[in-house]
């Protein structure tokens, strides 16, 4: 048998560029499909129903930039969608994706009420049409001391709040996740008080960084990431960013979140990322970056100090953790 010379084998760079070409060709084809369907804008087809595959799911993940403003690389799409803290499904981060794959995200409504002048129940697709989607590349810092960088899609919460007009007596915003133990088996666990509840002060909720996210990497959110819509508050620990929201209420009293109820000495209402205030059981001074090796120092307010520090002037951050 004739021996194949190593020089006859396709060199790696050529081989790789061939793969890249195929990938790009696929991108162009898929992209053309999106353009045709959406008229040039990345938004949900208003006629989408539960039985249809929403636009965006078959398109490849994409983002407007490859890093955040500090130069930290985006966490790869597979990691973002397969490493999830979502106790409604399971406490196993690698198991959420599979357990949530049949989660029904359409039809879906969000009831916005409480101390507002215009309470209204929104269909999630109407919300998308009304407020659109913009990309925001945010760092996500989990209280367990790991972090990601994620290109979210969504709209700032203040757009929605302005429309319902909070009354002067409203001091806090209270968010609630869907309660459906049949679909979310983790909600059968007696260790937590379901449904998941989170809260923000009204001025925090009105801050431009506070996002209602409906997608990531140019695609619709998958159930494991909190589909169809979730909160993203990048300067707070990840657990504040409540998923699969069905209810938003403006209230006078500070809401008690699920974690505050479960372990009040460990989880406070504010939960601002703060390397100087340790969690009782682990240090918050540094973090493991998912997909990267080694630790990096944690930044005050997760690197959003300039934008959000004024919200907390005069507040004892050690006491109000």
């Amino acid at each position: 048998m004739k021996k194949i010379l190593s020089s006859e084998i396709t060199p790696e760079n050529l081989y790789l560029s061939r793969r890249k070409f195929i990938k790009q060709a696929a991108l162009v084809v898929a992209g053309a499909g999106v353009l045709a369907a959406c008229n040039g804008k990345l938004k949900l087809n208003p006629g989408t129903t539960a039985s249809q595959t929403p636009t965006g799911i078959t398109t490849p993940p994409s983002a407007g930039a490859q890093t955040d403003e500090y130069g930290r690389a985006l966490t790869e799409y597979d990691a973002v969608t397969n490493f999830n803290n979502y106790y409604e499904f399971t406490t196993d981060k690698a198991g959420v994706a599979r357990l949530s794959e049949n989660f029904k995200t359409r039809p879906w409504t969000v009831e916005v009420g409480g101390l507002v002048n215009n309470p209204k129940t929104y269909d999630v697709d109407d919300l998308l049409n009304q407020f659109g989607e913009e990309e925001r590349i945010y760092r996500l810092r989990c209280v367990e001391a790991w972090s990601m960088v994620i290109p979210w899609l969504g709209f700032p919460l203040h757009k929605l709040l302005k429309e319902v007009e909070p009354k002067a007596s409203a001091k806090y915003v209270r968010f609630e996740t869907l309660y459906d133990p049949e679909q979310m088996p983790g909600q059968k666990s007696p260790w937590y008080v379901w449904p998941y509840v989170e809260g923000l002060r009204v001025d925090e909720a009105m801050h431009d960084l506070t996002l209602i996210s409906t997608g990531l990497y140019g695609k619709h959110l998958l159930p494991q990431n909190g589909a169809p819509l979730r909160l993203v508050v990048p300067w707070k620990y990840g657990f504040k960013s409540i998923k699969s929201i069905v209810k938003i209420d403006l209230v006078e009293e500070m809401p008690t979140s699920l974690w505050m109820a479960a372990a009040p000495q460990e989880y406070g209402f504010y939960a601002n990322v703060n390397p100087q205030v340790d969690h009782p059981r682990w240090s918050q001074a540094s973090e493991r970056i998912i997909g990267d090796s080694g630790r990096k120092p944690t930044l005050m307010f997760n690197g959003y100090e300039e934008e959000v520090a004024p919200l907390y002037s005069g507040l004892d951050l050690e006491k109000w953790y």
């Binding site: 490493f83 260790w191 372990a263 340790d278 001074a285 493991r288 998912i290």
Partner: protein
């Protein structure tokens, strides 16, 4: 010489060695093939911690298995099981200090000094180190009566390990409680009065089992 010793192992001993090393092999394969979740450091840390705890508990079953059931082969693997527990505990600490904290001493010290679960975990490991060092026949002879007292510290180490686990999990403490219950049971059957009562009548089937496993 070494080969001869290896072949003098009974099948039961080989089984115990194989079963104790298997999780390490799987861990390495999972690591090399990228099947250790997207946070491999945490996954490896949790796995090695769990293996160390389970092996420590299994090593503590050896004595009662012999005294109560008359299951003699257990004594032949007791030391090995303890050393495997120590091996996984060391790996656990290595992942924490070298892979995760990259030997950043100020950060590591901050963790060890301020975090109660790390304090108890470190203490448990320190005990295991002392026991591993003195696990040889020579140490046994040299230390005499002191050896037994020293090695009774394994009970303290096991209790600290359970505490470590209990304090590290979030709200749901079912798993640590389960392991804690197993440890409580293993300690209870060591109380002389209870041990005597239980060991009064070893089961008849144990003799053939012992014979079969002695090969």
């Amino acid at each position: 010489m070494v080969l001869k010793k290896w072949f003098s192992f009974t099948r039961f001993q080989l089984l115990v060695h194989g079963a104790s090393l298997l999780p390490f092999l799987i861990l390495v394969v999972n690591y090399l093939t990228g099947n250790l979740t997207y946070d491999p450091i945490q996954a490896a840390m949790q796995r090695t911690g769990r293996y160390a705890m389970v092996l420590l508990l299994i090593s503590l079953t050896c004595t009662p298995l012999n005294t109560i059931l008359g299951f003699r082969p257990a004594l032949k693997v007791r030391r090995a099981l303890g050393l495997y527990a120590f091996f996984y505990a060391s790996l656990h600490f290595f992942i924490f200090s070298v892979l995760d904290f990259q030997l950043n001493l100020s950060l590591i010290l901050r963790e060890i000094v301020y975090k109660r679960y790390i304090i108890v975990g470190t203490l448990a490991l320190v005990i295991l180190i002392a026991l591993a060092i003195t696990s040889t026949q020579r140490s046994m002879k040299r230390l005499g009566k002191l050896w037994k007292t020293l090695h009774q510290l394994v009970y303290a180490s096991a209790i600290l390990v359970i505490l470590h686990f209990m304090w590290v999990v979030k709200s749901d403490i079912r798993e640590p409680l389960l392991y804690g219950a197993v440890l409580a049971l293993l300690l209870l059957v060591r109380i002389p009065a209870i041990r005597k009562k239980l060991s009064a009548r070893p089961p008849r089937w144990i003799a053939p089992v012992n014979r079969a496993l002695a090969k």
